[in-house]
């Protein structure tokens, strides 16, 4: 489903060209889960951005469902992302002026789905926030905010979910609960999951792991659990 072929990423700084990623090759099948791990600054989030079509590699190709997204322009990539891709972020990225329900409904409304609010309400119930739909992000704890973000990501029924350090801002206990929820929903929806983390336990729950060090692919471990 996702084919990554020898991608690299360089950026130009005042001190010369900097290699952020190099020679990454990867293939992720439908329904698989992949953890990208590595120390800070190893290029995990950059790779995630490229896989999701948010960023472009300096060389190499990325194909989703057989379509080479590196050959597309931004509009083409946006069209591919629409309805296919969901995101969960470390800092939740909920819109502060919207209630939990509206935050979840917004991407559905943008897609023109008719019963956006009803769908959003169902997903909030699934993440255990059925009673908090009218609450604003500032009235929710960090864990609750990330649950809203999970509901928002899954409500669009994406084929692929990208998660960037989904528990990075949460304490261990809360993080565990979020992880459980993430994997439960993933299993129920049959979503392909690609997540970035530096937590070994979270990575261990994924079907495969890709470890990066200084932008280089150290190893890709096959199904270990």
């Amino acid at each position: 489903m996702i084919e990554v072929n020898n991608i690299s990423k360089q950026v130009v700084t005042s001190e010369g060209t900097l290699d952020i990623l190099g020679q990454i090759n990867l293939s992720v099948a439908k329904g698989e889960s992949l953890a990208i791990i590595g120390p800070s600054g190893s290029g995990k989030s950059t790779l995630l951005g490229i896989l999701a079509g948010l960023d472009m590699p300096s060389s190499g190709t990325v194909a989703i469902d057989g379509e080479d997204i590196t050959a597309m322009d931004e509009e083409g990539r946006a069209a591919l992302r629409a309805g296919h891709v969901g995101f969960v972020f470390q800092s939740f990225h909920l819109l502060p002026g919207l209630t939990a329900l509206e935050n979840v409904a917004l991407p559905l409304e943008l897609q023109g789905i008719d019963n956006a609010l009803e769908t959003a309400r169902q997903y909030l119930q699934r993440v255990g926030l059925g009673e908090r739909v009218t609450h604003y992000p500032r009235q929710l704890s960090g864990g609750e905010q990330q649950r809203v973000a999970l509901a928002r990501a899954f409500a669009c029924r994406p084929a692929i979910l990208f998660a960037d350090e989904p528990t990075g801002n949460l304490d261990t206990g809360t993080g565990e609960k979020i992880n459980d929820l993430l994997f439960d929903l993933n299993a129920e929806e049959g979503t392909t999951l690609i997540l970035v983390t530096h937590e070994k336990t979270l990575a261990a729950r994924c079907g495969r792991r890709l470890e990066l060090q200084a932008g280089r692919q150290v190893e890709t471990l096959a199904e270990s659990v």
Partner: protein
């Protein structure tokens, strides 16, 4: 519609409050001023019509052509004829008086009304009756003073020419009574149909005819067509008089008031524009994450652009509609304050003010909000992962230019006045330029030397330097707002000062003219006995023009201009009288007054008269004074200040040319209502003295001025509101960052005093710098406005340079502290969570 949903959610989230209120205020200011200005203007035209007693008047030295009357009748145009002349009136065998008589048709007046009474010198409204037509045949309505002059009572009969008439009423005021120095004697109104029987008008009689016309209800088009036709018929005998010319002195006050309203409105628009620009900038920053999310969800840039554009249009429509309503309400409030301006009801406004208001809303959004949001569709979706990949906002030069363009279009369209638009734009540009240039230097100096002033100052001044970009943007906002408010206050103060003399209770309200030398002492004694003070006595000589450039004026020229037919008042002076301004040529100094070899007297002419007589500088005029003639050469022309209640002369000579001719004297003085009968006593003892009564006109000006002033005060308050809004917008710009920093400092144990102290010092410093720079821009703009728009003399305003920094520092400091108080009154975590 998703855009509506998004808009409502943003509204609920409080992100749109400032944009919306700036927009509403811009529209409300423009609408209220435009509505008021248009309604007052329409009323003025109507009111001026009543001063003319008609919509339009043709003044002629020959009787009105019957064809004009016939054509008017066919086209449904209302008409009235009037003849003015001087004629001797007799009561019994002994008493007589040369009266100024107006014979009017029964349809007179076509506009306005005549005030009459049965009580001589009536001032009490209860004694005065307002009627819509003149006297019946056989009746005369006469000036109060004719009664003592002819020693008669109401109901007595007097003779005019061959006819005998019943003096039935006292004539208090007719719409077109005027206040001309050429109106001789007591006024009498008689019926037109009595003219033939009285035989007062003979071939060769000096008669001024007036043909009054007015539109019939609903037949304005016919009227316009008739006027077009009539204009073709006019020849050298005829002159068209429009309502504008009818009441120059009041019109001038009203015009300045109107210009001030325009100025205040324009400043309001610019202020609201700045507030809108700042608020939009703030709003756009808050939208970056949302747009990045949208794009990560696969929403195309085009769709994002469309969504925001739809929101702007919706916001524009909603804001404009609310603004129109508030503007309408405010204009009603203004009208309730100035209702006494005009005794007539204000006519309804046309559609223009509404269109202007609505267009202001849309234009403001296009000029200020759209550019601020322009970069949003270009926001990279990667920003959801990396905060440092924000879209670059539109180049600030481009954004600034678009804003300036919008303001320029608005200003010019709105005021229709290039000088006003330029003055405000340049004043603001200078302030903004200085804010950026000088502001940067001041901030740098503050940072360098702040460490000498303790920890609060050191921290505050280095914060300002660290945040120099937003600091400068804020400074432009603050200084712009302060400068515009200063401009408005200074112009308002100058206008009110200029009008103050008119408001003075003892401004001269009567002129005594034609006082003969042998009467002078007696008249002075009479005035002194009443403990009244004159504005000084002026000498004058009455003479006629017999030749222009050594040629006698043709009959056509004589018919064409009154000055060639009647006696003129010639006076002399060494110094240019106050309120006079030399337009062409040179005023004589004391040394060169008699320095010409041709033995020609130098004469200075009123500028318009020079053109009307077809003369130029260096031409000669021969005057005849009591049968003696002398030649004069035109050495200069002057403009006169008709607002002033001091004597104005069309012809002025240097000393040494007229003193040997028989001279008369004149003065102006204030006669209180209680002493009004002085006029009576004076005229009884000195029947040849002419008294011009301006008390009613002055009362009227005084009322108008005080009402206009009150209107200006209200407008000033509203604009101050706009200014405060700009300050709010500017303060809120950096507030998120400030609150964040303060919360962190608070978490680290900093005291309330330190945190608020830092905010106070930062904002006060910004406010003081802005106030100082605003003084610069305001001084420039005021100089321009005074020179070109209000014809006021230039003056420095040192208080601007003191009040600016002090007021700016205090106001901005207070606003900043009030805004950032949250940082110390709430737990730091809650503050951080709410950002």
């Amino acid at each position: 519609m998703l855009a509506v949903k998004m808009l409502l959610r943003s509204w609920r989230g409080g992100q749109l409050g400032l944009i919306f209120s700036s927009l509403v205020l811009a529209v409300a200011v423009v609408t209220s001023v435009a509505l008021l200005a248009e309604r007052v203007e329409r009323a003025l035209i109507k009111e001026s019509s009543s001063f003319l007693a008609a919509d339009l008047v043709v003044s002629s030295s020959v009787p009105i052509d019957p064809i004009w009357l016939e054509r008017a009748r066919q086209m449904g145009v209302r008409t009235a004829q009037k003849a003015s002349f001087s004629s001797m009136t007799f009561a019994g065998d002994e008493e007589m008086h040369l009266a100024s008589i107006k014979a009017v048709e029964s349809s007179y007046p076509l506009r306005g009304a005549v005030k009459r009474s049965t009580v001589p010198f009536a001032t009490d409204e209860l004694d005065i009756e307002v009627v819509e037509s003149g006297p019946q045949p056989g009746e005369l309505w006469v000036d109060s003073r004719l009664l003592p002059l002819l020693n008669i009572e109401l109901g007595d009969t007097i003779d005019v020419g061959d006819g005998s008439f019943n003096v039935s009423h006292i004539l208090i005021e007719e719409p077109d009574s005027g206040s001309s120095f050429s109106a001789f004697g007591a006024r009498i109104l008689m019926n037109w149909s009595d003219l033939p029987a009285s035989g007062v008008i003979q071939p060769g009689s000096r008669v001024s005819y007036r043909f009054l016309i007015a539109s019939s209800e609903g037949q304005e088009d016919n009227f316009d067509a008739y006027v077009d036709w009539l204009k073709q018929q006019l020849d050298v005998h005829d002159r068209l008089i429009t309502p504008d010319e009818a009441q120059a002195s009041i019109a001038s006050t009203m015009d300045k008031g109107r210009r001030f309203l325009l100025l205040a409105g324009s400043i309001g628009v610019v202020l609201a524009g700045i507030a809108l620009a700042l608020a939009s900038h703030h709003f756009a920053n808050g939208q970056l994450l949302q747009v990045a999310l949208f794009k990560s969800w696969g929403i195309s840039a085009n769709r994002v652009r469309k969504l925001y554009f739809q929101q702007i249009i919706l916001l524009g429509i909603a804001g404009s509609v609310v603004g129109l309503l508030i503007g309408w309400g405010f204009h009603q409030l203004l009208i309730s304050v100035v209702r006494d301006w005009l005794p007539i009801t204000l006519p309804a406004a046309g559609s223009r003010p509404w269109i202007t208001g609505f267009a202001t809303g849309i234009l403001c959004l296009l000029g200020f909000t759209l550019p601020a949001l322009w970069h949003l569709p270009a926001q990279s979706p990667l920003a959801v992962l990396r905060r440092d990949t924000q879209a670059k906002s539109l180049n600030s030069l481009v954004r600034g230019s678009l804003g300036v363009l919008a303001v320029a279009v608005l200003l010019f369209w709105y005021s229709g006045n290039l000088y006003l638009s330029m003055a405000i734009l340049l004043g603001f540009a200078i302030t903004a330029g200085a804010s950026i240039g000088v502001g940067l230097v001041l901030l740098r100096l503050g940072k360098s030397y702040g460490h000498w002033m303790g920890s609060i100052w050191r921290l505050a001044l280095s914060n300002l330097w660290r945040r120099k970009k937003p600091s400068l943007v804020q400074m432009v906002g603050f200084s712009g707002a302060i400068a515009l408010l200063m401009i408005m206050l200074v112009v308002r103060t100058s206008l009110v000062d200029e009008w103050r003399w008119q408001l003075a209770d003892d401004a001269p309200n009567h002129f005594l003219i034609n006082v003969a030398a042998y009467e002078l002492d007696g008249v002075k004694t009479l005035v002194n006995e009443r403990e009244l003070e004159t504005a000084g006595w002026y000498s004058m000589v009455r003479g006629r023009i017999t030749h222009l450039n050594n040629q006698p004026p043709t009959e056509i020229a004589k018919n064409g201009h009154e000055s060639l037919r009647r006696e003129l008042n010639l006076s002399w002076t060494t110094d240019l009288p106050e309120g006079n301004k030399i337009i062409q040529g040179q005023w004589w100094g004391s040394e060169n007054a008699d320095n010409n070899s041709n033995n020609l007297a130098p004469v200075s002419l009123e500028e318009e008269l020079l053109h009307e007589l077809g003369l130029t500088l260096g031409d000669t005029i021969r005057f005849s004074v009591g049968g003696l003639t002398f030649d004069a050469v035109i050495t200069s022309t002057r403009s006169l200040n008709w607002d002033s209640m001091t004597p104005n002369f069309y012809f002025l000579f240097p000393e040494g040319y007229l003193e040997d001719y028989p001279r008369t004297h004149m003065t102006s003085l204030y006669i209180p209502a209680a002493e009004k009968l002085l006029v009576n006593d004076l005229l009884r003892s000195y029947p040849t003295v002419q008294v011009i009564e301006l008390d009613k006109i002055i009362d009227r000006i005084r009322t108008i001025v005080s009402q206009v002033t009150r209107g200006l005060e209200m407008m000033t308050l509203m604009i101050l509101g706009c200014g405060i809004l700009v300050m709010f917008a500017a303060v809120s710009l950096s507030m998120t960052e400030r609150l964040q920093e303060s919360a962190v400092l608070r978490t680290l144990g900093s005291s309330r005093r330190l945190i608020l102290g830092v905010q106070w010092v930062e904002f006060t410093t910004l406010g003081m710098m802005a106030g100082l720079l605003a003084g610069l821009g305001a001084e420039f703009a005021v100089a321009m406005l005074q020179r070109f728009m209000f014809s006021l003399p230039f003056s420095w305003h040192p208080w601007l340079w003191i009040a600016g920094p002090l007021g700016g520092g205090l106001l901005v400091g207070l606003l900043g502290v009030v805004y950032s108080r949250r940082a110390v009154t709430q737990p730091p975590l809650r503050v951080l969570n709410s950002l």
